[in-house]
Symmetry: C2
Subunit: 231 residues, 2 copies
């Protein structure tokens, strides 16, 4: 399929690498292609700059946000810091997003007051809902936002069962996401459809717990599992 990933950070790179290895045609959207290509150094977490990464993944094309979603694009994946999501979608353009499946992986994390981060939207609202409200003619599905990218793209990195959630208003869109998740290695029984897009509040509000667990366990290799195996 023809898939555009908005964002060139570690989450964007992980998804672009995985999806292109599954023979999808991948475009990565960025603010400034030349600036991105010039990023050769590793970031603080040891992830390669996207300029370096693209050299090693020449099948992935890089495009400015406004040019990144085309007629033939079938899926748009939001792999951005939550704080810039609405601005970037504006650059992509409502007309380009119309009727598209938008997979939202972002979280409304606000690090402006340091650690632990807070959420800049939560409780009676969520980033997933804000996107769906702003783009009512697109089909937004929130998923994969409750784990590290290492687990997202390769669930078999953990032994045993663990869960991934989906929230969205459109049943066909969720079916499409389920197929994509299964192609990553997710077992059907571990994909939990929580319901409509308002259920994004639940998964986004799990982030404060996730952040503390990450600090405690000191590894990105963990995930939550909904254990419902009654004795």
């Amino acid at each position: 399929m023809n898939i555009t990933i908005l964002g060139t950070g570690s989450v964007g790179q992980a998804l672009a690498g995985k999806l292109s290895s599954l023979s999808h045609a991948i475009t990565m959207g960025t603010r400034d292609v030349n600036a991105s290509l010039a990023k050769k150094d590793n970031d603080g977490m040891g992830n390669p700059g996207v300029g370096k990464w693209i050299e090693q993944h020449s099948q992935v094309s890089l495009s400015e946000f406004s040019q990144s979603v085309k007629e033939e694009t079938e899926i748009v994946i939001i792999a951005l810091s939550g704080t810039v999501v609405m601005d970037v979608l504006k650059l992509v353009g409502e007309a380009n997003l119309k009727d598209k499946l938008i997979i939202d992986i972002s979280n409304p994390l606000d690090f402006s007051n340091g650690f632990p981060p807070t959420l800049f939207v939560c409780n009676d609202e969520s980033l997933g809902e804000l996107i769906q409200q702003q783009y009512p003619n697109s089909k937004v599905v929130k998923t994969l936002n409750t784990m590290s990218n290492a687990v997202m793209i390769n669930p078999n990195v953990l032994e045993g069962d663990h869960s991934v959630f989906m929230s969205g208003d459109n049943a066909d869109a969720k079916l499409q996401v389920e197929t994509l998740l299964e192609s990553f290695g997710w077992k059907s029984k571990n994909i939990i459809d929580l319901g409509n897009i308002t259920t994004s509040r639940g998964t986004e509000m799990m982030l404060p717990l996730w952040v503390r667990l990450f600090g405690k366990l000191n590894t990105p290799y963990f995930n939550i599992h909904i254990n419902q195996s009654k004795m």
Copy 2:
């Protein structure tokens, strides 16, 4: 041990029943003893009124909040609706709570706008923290607030591993809570000490996800497990 449970609803009853079966001396705190004793009918969920429940559990004593925590009380458990916690603790009295271990199981759920509930405190604050701030001479440990009471008191009701969290500033108090949890059947490896009381934000903010899962799975017999078994 001498334990006071604040609250006579289904969570309070479950804990009182379990703890008295483990030979602890249990007092249940309530607003009005006579009114509680008169509650004989089942509630909407099929739980017995506390008046009926006390008849079946005569070893548990019922006491008004202001009389419920005494010199000899070793542990105070908050099994109340989040909305009334601060008011009830005021009735119990700061002098009575001094130096006590307070186990807080409550959640700041606000149902005043219907379903789904929101949290009346979250993000940069939590109910666990508010209690610790208000009673700095008590040792608050937040735990067990991320599951149904059926799972709290009998973790073996679910097959396989699943997790319970602890948040608190006092290491000795958390050790004491761990011992109590183990006496309920919790395996040591599944008891996760998240850190200080500010980590309550994480477990309280898990409630919106829990509520949606409860609606989806249609059973209280589930819990989350932190899967960290890397392949």
